[in-house]
Amino acid sequence: MRIPCPWCGPRDYSEFRYGGDAAKQRPVHGETDAKVWHDYYFLFDNPKGPHDEYWQHVLGCRQWFKLARDTATNEIGEVP
């Protein structure tokens, strides 16, 4: 799989580190309900299909960015 880094261009996936689901919304600061944190931290949509996610170009420019990838095919779409 080749990942298009917005700064460095397309590179092999082994230069990158996966950073999880980018659609998740972190609970607001000061949230005290443990259930809200549980759902944020432990539950995953894990769809078979389009997925917005974070990647970091750890062995390159070290920038974080969002990527749209289809988890059923690993096809990479537009960077959202």
Binding site: S14, Y18, Y41, F42, F44, N46, H51, A72
Partner: protein
Amino acid sequence: MSDRYSALALARHALQPDLPWPRAWRSPEPKTSYDVVIVGGGGHGLATAYYLAENHGIRNVAVIERNYIGSGNVGRNTTIIRSNYMIGGNTAFFEHSLKLWEGLSHELNFNCMVSHRGQIVLAVNPVQLDTFARRGNIMRLNGIDAELLDRGEVMKLLPYLDYSKEARWPICGGILQRRAGTARHDAVAWAYTRAADRHGIDIIENCEVTGFTMAEGRVTGVDTTRGRINAGKVAIAVAGHTSHVARLAGLRLPVESHVLQAFVTEPVKPLVHHVVSWGAELFYLSQSDKGGLVFGGHIDGFNTYTQRGQFGKIREVAECAVSLMPFISRLRLLRHWGGIQDMTPDGSPFICRTPVRNLYLNGGWCYQGFKATPASGWTFAHTIAHDEEHELNRCYALDRFEKGAELDEFGLGNWTYKQ
């Protein structure tokens, strides 16, 4: 004619070559209603069906498989069985599984080729050997066999490893579980299918579940590509696709799907007589009866449902192999493949009830699905039959993260990318 396999049956068929062996299981049309519908005809679903009939007398059961029997993860693993676990809950469960493996071929009247060749985990520094001593002591306190090996003993058992001064990870010793070993994965699938079929359970292949029917907060059946099937209880055992199927019932789970690759070299003469695991990286290797070296490593590191791996991981696993056993560099890789596995945040599975009444969940198997197959089916069948977890699977509840009751045995959750 009896379809029981025996030496006598073998002789009879040898003398009468025109006499065909009966089909190992029927191919029934789905009925409109069952007491229990099991979604997923993998090892765990089939074992569940068998133990529902065998242990609990529930025979009006269907197993619904999207593809054919043996097409999923039950045929995509590295066939290792063992019970060298340390954390309370895991020890008893996996030991129960290993005990069921020990009698499985006789119980199912099918040669599962269970081989207790022993598993050795290698320590690559003295501290790691200390942790293995602790693990071994806890295992022995739980009645599980474990032996600590020093470097000299490892050299006798595994003379082909790299013991030179140049070795990247010097081998200090290891821990041996003699009762661990391998089993033939396809045979396990076929054996449970045939045994369940003989109990009158319908094994329905090439039938995909497309939805669940609900009434008053309870599940009442499934919609499939071959029509609607009503069910008193529905059990999900589709590890790899657990999130995908559970979403049809409105559940969002602590599961991510990841691809794990496995590899086989060209066959060589008998060389590796144990299952060998390595303490420096996640790496495990055994030799199949055909002679190929079967090995694997970590997951690729990002969620995916594609049953094919990335080249970068092939290279990393090959580096592990050569670092531990330099002669492997002269062998050609014959095949490699990927299987999709559920990864949970603590690396432990789910065998439990769900928030939806009459819907039961078996999944989240991470790296350890195959070895758990018998106990998984055994405890899941109990959970379905009694609407209550058995003592052996009470720790595998869906709400354990809310309650702070995680079972983090190896730190091998889905967050490898954050470690």
